[in-house]
């Protein structure tokens, strides 16, 4: 093998200007070529080196053939939001070669498969060709697997050029292939060969490298859909009906994977759960409503288009007071929209889901760990309130691996709410009626099918009903019923998780957000503070809003409401709730399908503040 030199450059970067543990890598590959394994291996190895790291898959709605990108951010200070700058770009896809080359920051590094016969027409970047075909052809991989292992070539080259520990790469492969030596060795040998080749053939001309740290040992790496599934299992989920949809499918698939491990009766081996893949989202939520009505901890998981189909049942469950949990792993709408891109566009839709006067309870997890926590809490809240509880995650949480604190065992016993079995009913039989507000909190007591007490039964319905669930068109009765549902909803603000608030001294500006934008906001606040703009932060975690939400808004002269949608949906809801504060709230709403960046938040606030 001859020694290959990088392209000649007129403006070589300064090698003394080492940039350690602070850069972004973007890999452009072909969808379906196995690059996800390579990218996750890189991500996990960096994590195992103790370096704060995040990875985001920016992929097309396609099985095979279309361009796909993966972006990894390494940051010693723990700022892990997506960045718009790409210090290191790997080009494996001829179709996007030119575009990928264009992305590299001046002075950055450009790694490319040397079989792509296209010109590297920039002299302000370091370009490194990689003999991808040669190495994969000479590997032990059978020809059918060569395309897949080819992607391990850039892993090996990057490992050498950046200083990624080969042992950690091996650990990552071991995890990915669940200890199966054959694929581990096959892939690792390619990495080793590529690293050796880089050592012998490439001269380091860029400033980027990694060094081991000790900043990740209190974390695990997981995705939000797995976390949600596991949290639901610890919440005692008993019935799941679902219909496949990106990006929610892996939530139900994780339930299928983990339920048999965690929820078989130890003595009999019998299941304490059932999972039904439904014929569509109408049936998925219909079954969950039926199961919730019959006293099971029931859930369904879907994304925007599925929520659209579930609307009628959501209204029925709200009105008939049936507890169930609905996960919406949001993608970009309207319509089919961008099925593989992330957004926070379903907030107002879900909150008002159903015709007539409907207000739904919504939980808003803001980390993968919180996806786990809200996974179990959602059932307690649903059964306590006897109402559907929606949990809004998004594609970025659901399908990407995040560095996140370990899952914590539930710190509270299950709350099954006001449910009456035979002996409970016997005690209050004279007073009880299904929809009678005995306690004055808007929440009646319920019985469920299978309760054999002769007075337990009632006929549930979506039509107007009296306290005994009998059909009623009586005007006073209707007003009373809708009033009680309103009261129940308003009291829910005491039951749902309060916002997370982070304040600094003397800040007059507040930033309000929810969900997956927190990393971008954390970084933007840091940058704003450096520029002399102090900010407080509130991450809203549920609707209805707790008192703390109003307090925070009141405490700040200007509140920037940051969210990933076009119309500023959280801003709209806050304005509706606190109209007297409308002038103190400024919408920072933006959506292009990609996760929020600190730059977007920072620049918008800076510009507003300069006005």
């Amino acid at each position: 093998m001859s020694v290959q030199q990088p392209m000649a450059r007129t403006d070589a970067p300064d090698k003394d200007r080492d940039q350690v543990n602070d850069f972004s890598i973007t890999v452009g590959t072909v969808n379906g070529s196995g690059s996800q394994t390579s990218n996750l291996t890189l991500l996990r190895a960096l994590f195992k080196m103790g370096i704060p790291v995040s990875g985001k898959n920016l992929f097309p709605s396609n099985i095979q053939g279309l361009p796909t990108w993966y972006t990894i951010r390494v940051n010693k200070d723990g700022f892990l939001a997506r960045r718009e700058e790409h210090e290191i770009v790997v080009a494996m896809n001829p179709t996007t070669f030119a575009e990928d080359l264009e992305k590299v920051v001046p002075g950055g590094a450009f790694f490319y498969a040397d079989d792509i016969k296209l010109e590297v027409n920039r002299d302000d970047v370091v370009a490194y060709p990689m003999p991808v075909k040669d190495i994969s052809r000479n590997s032990d991989a059978p020809s059918s697997l060569r395309t897949y292992v080819a992607n391990m070539v850039y892993v090996g080259v990057l490992a050498h050029m950046l200083g990624i520990d080969l042992d950690k790469l091996y650990q990552a492969l071991d995890f990915h292939f669940k200890g199966k030596l054959k694929p581990i060795d096959l892939n690792f040998n390619v990495i080793q060969t590529a690293a050796d080749w880089a050592r012998d053939n490439l001269e380091k001309q860029d400033p980027y490298r990694v060094e081991p740290m000790d900043a990740t040992h209190d974390y695990i790496m997981a995705d939000g859909n797995t976390a949600a599934a596991l949290g639901s299992i610890y919440g005692g989920v008993q019935f799941i009906s679902w219909y496949p949809i990106t990006p929610a499918s892996s939530l139900a698939e994780s339930l299928v994977q983990y339920l048999p491990k965690l929820r078989k009766d130890p003595e009999t081996g019998k299941n304490t759960f059932a999972v039904v893949q439904a014929e569509d989202e109408l049936a998925a939520i219909g079954m969950a409503v039926g199961a919730g009505w019959s006293g099971l901890r029931a859930m369904t998981s879907t994304s925007g288009p599925g929520i659209s189909l579930m609307t009628e049942f959501a209204g029925l469950a709200y009105f008939a007071e049936v507890p169930l949990v609905i996960w919406d792993v949001q993608r970009v709408g309207p319509s089919t929209g961008l099925p593989t891109r992330t957004a926070q566009g379903d907030l107002t839709f879900i909150h008002f889901l159903g015709h007539g006067d409907t207000e739904q309870v919504v939980l808003l997890p803001g980390s993968v760990t919180e996806c786990f926590e809200f996974g179990w809490k959602a059932f307690d809240i649903a059964e306590r309130l006897q109402t559907p509880v929606f949990v809004l995650s998004d594609l970025d949480f659901g399908m990407n691996q995040w560095m996140t604190p370990p899952f914590e065992y539930p710190d509270k016993p299950m709350d099954r709410g006001k449910i009456l079995w035979e002996e409970d009913l016997e005690k209050i039989r004279d007073e009880w009626a299904r929809y009678k507000d005995i306690d004055g909190d808007g929440i009646p007591y319920r019985t469920v099918p299978g309760n054999r007490h002769p007075e337990a039964s009632y006929f549930a319905r979506g039509t107007g009903h009296d306290e005994n669930a009998r059909y009623s068109e009586d005007a006073a009765n209707w007003v009373e019923l809708l009033g009680r549902l309103k009261q129940k909803y308003q009291n829910a603000c005491e039951v749902v998780p309060p916002p997370m608030v982070d304040t600094v001294e003397d800040a007059r500006i507040g930033i309000i957000a929810f969900g997956s934008t927190e990393p971008a906001i954390k970084e933007a606040r840091h940058q704003l503070a450096e520029a002399g703009v102090k900010t407080d932060f509130m991450r809203v975690r549920a609707i209805p809003f707790s008192q703390e939400v109003e307090d925070f808004i009141h405490q700040h002269a200007r509140n920037y409401v940051v969210e990933m949608n076009r119309d500023g949906q959280l801003h709209q809801l806050l304005t509706l709730e606190y109209p007297d504060r409308a002038m103190n709230m400024i919408s920072v709403a933006y959506t292009d399908g990609l996760p929020m960046t600190a730059r977007k938040v920072r620049e918008t606030i800076k510009a507003e503040e300069a006005k």
């Binding site: 990552a172 695990i220 790496m221 997981a222 797995t226 610890y234 919440g235 008993q238 019935f239 009906s241 965690l262 929820r263 009766d265 009999t268 019998k270 299941n271 304490t272 759960f273 059932a274 039904v276 439904a278 014929e279 569509d280 109408l282 049936a283 939520i285 219909g286 079954m287 969950a288 409503v289 039926g290 199961a291 919730g292 009505w293 019959s294 006293g295 099971l296 009628e312 049942f313 029925l316 370990p406 914590e408 065992y409 016993p413 299950m414 019985t447 469920v448 099918p449 299978g450 309760n451 054999r452 007490h453 002769p454 337990a456 039964s457 009632y458 006929f459 549930a460 979506g462 059909y471």
Partner: protein
């Protein structure tokens, strides 16, 4: 039957000590003479005769005249009047709550063959243990007389003109969808309805009963195929059917070769007395043929069209705990504290 003395008056009760009135519902709010009322009466009679405890039954319905009728029987049973066309999904989820419950769903031809066709076909595929009654009258009653999907081609209705489309045959759809129990009956033949209901209530899987149930207000002209007159003139019963519970001997003597017996999964028997033809309801191909012949001869074939008592039902497939799922508590439902470390270790 046992007798029980209450307040000085002798009241007839069944083996579980209940009188007919324990199976009643509210007074009907449907039209006088509606076929659905007759079916409600037969449900009451069948459940009484079978000594079913009402608390062991859950009623389900969708939307429409038919779907109102579960309030007219079994007041002591839980019930859910759900959404238009969505009774199957509500029933499926609810019956997972307690696998010892019997599901009894009432739907209509609009609720099943139009808006609910998808869920109808899929609940059949899953062999949910559910009696699925379609009160089939060829017309939308509650919305005042529009054509339904089972209306025959050429049917003329007031304000609607002439129906240009071919009808959906519910029994046929059930059969090709792999239903394990398919029957057709006629509300004007209450005895047959009752016996079919008894067999259906003892079937361990989906039992579809397509019952022609005339709408006296909107579709009961003599020449309309969902009318009383047409049904009476064109009904051809496949057999005379009687249901015999597991513990009872078959008392009526039939001549050798006069009857066919089908043994249900619980040991009970359906005795089919031969009429004009020798019909075997365990043969799917015979079932399809007889439905096709009914179309050709322009007659209303009634009786047990098909039965397969052997297929596992949905609750068997799911290997559920003996104790009903909805009675499991935190101990059974929340994995132990020691598992959380293992789960975190499984992440990277």
């Amino acid at each position: 039957m046992a007798d029980q003395t209450t307040t000085g008056r002798r009241l007839q009760v069944n083996l579980v000590g209940l009188s007919k009135s324990d199976y009643r519902g509210n007074p009907t709010t449907l039209c006088q003479g509606c076929g659905h009322n007759s079916i409600a009466s037969q449900i009451i009679a069948a459940c009484y005769d079978l000594d079913i405890v009402p608390e062991d039954v859950v009623k389900f319905s969708g939307i429409g005249c038919s779907s109102k009728s579960p309030t007219y029987f079994l007041n002591r049973s839980f019930g859910f009047n759900s959404l238009h066309g969505r009774m199957p999904s509500i029933a499926t989820g609810a019956l997972f709550g307690d696998h010892t419950l019997k599901g009894l769903g009432v739907s209509g031809d609009g609720d099943t063959a139009s808006i609910g066709m998808g869920q109808f076909k899929h609940v059949i595929r899953r062999n949910m243990r559910l009696v699925y009654i379609v009160e089939n009258n060829g017309v939308y009653g509650l919305t005042k007389g529009q054509f339904s999907a089972t209306a025959e081609e050429g049917l003329q209705l007031k304000n609607q003109g002439t129906n240009p489309y071919m009808p959906v045959d519910i029994a046929w759809e059930a059969l090709v969808g792999n239903a394990t129990f398919v029957a057709r009956s006629f509300a004007g033949d209450p005895k047959q309805v009752r016996e079919l209901l008894k067999a259906a209530l003892h079937h361990d899987g989906i039992a579809v009963l397509d019952i022609i149930s005339p709408c006296v207000t909107f579709n009961n002209k003599d020449e309309a195929v969902h009318s009383y007159a047409w049904g009476r003139e064109h009904e051809v019963a496949l057999h005379e059917l009687s249901y015999v519970p597991p513990a009872e001997d078959i008392l009526v003597d039939y001549e050798e070769g006069e009857t066919k017996e089908v043994t249900m999964h619980d040991g009970s028997t359906v005795v089919l007395k031969k009429l004009e033809r020798d019909y075997d309801p365990t043969s799917r191909s015979d079932a399809l043929r007889v439905l096709e012949e009914a179309n050709e001869c322009n007659c209303l074939i009634t009786g047990l069209i098909y039965i397969d008592p052997e297929q596992p039902s949905l609750s068997d497939i799911y290997n559920l705990t003996e104790k009903p799922l909805n009675r499991l508590g935190e101990k059974e439902l929340r994995p132990g504290r020691e598992t959380i470390q293992k789960i975190n270790d499984l992440m990277f």
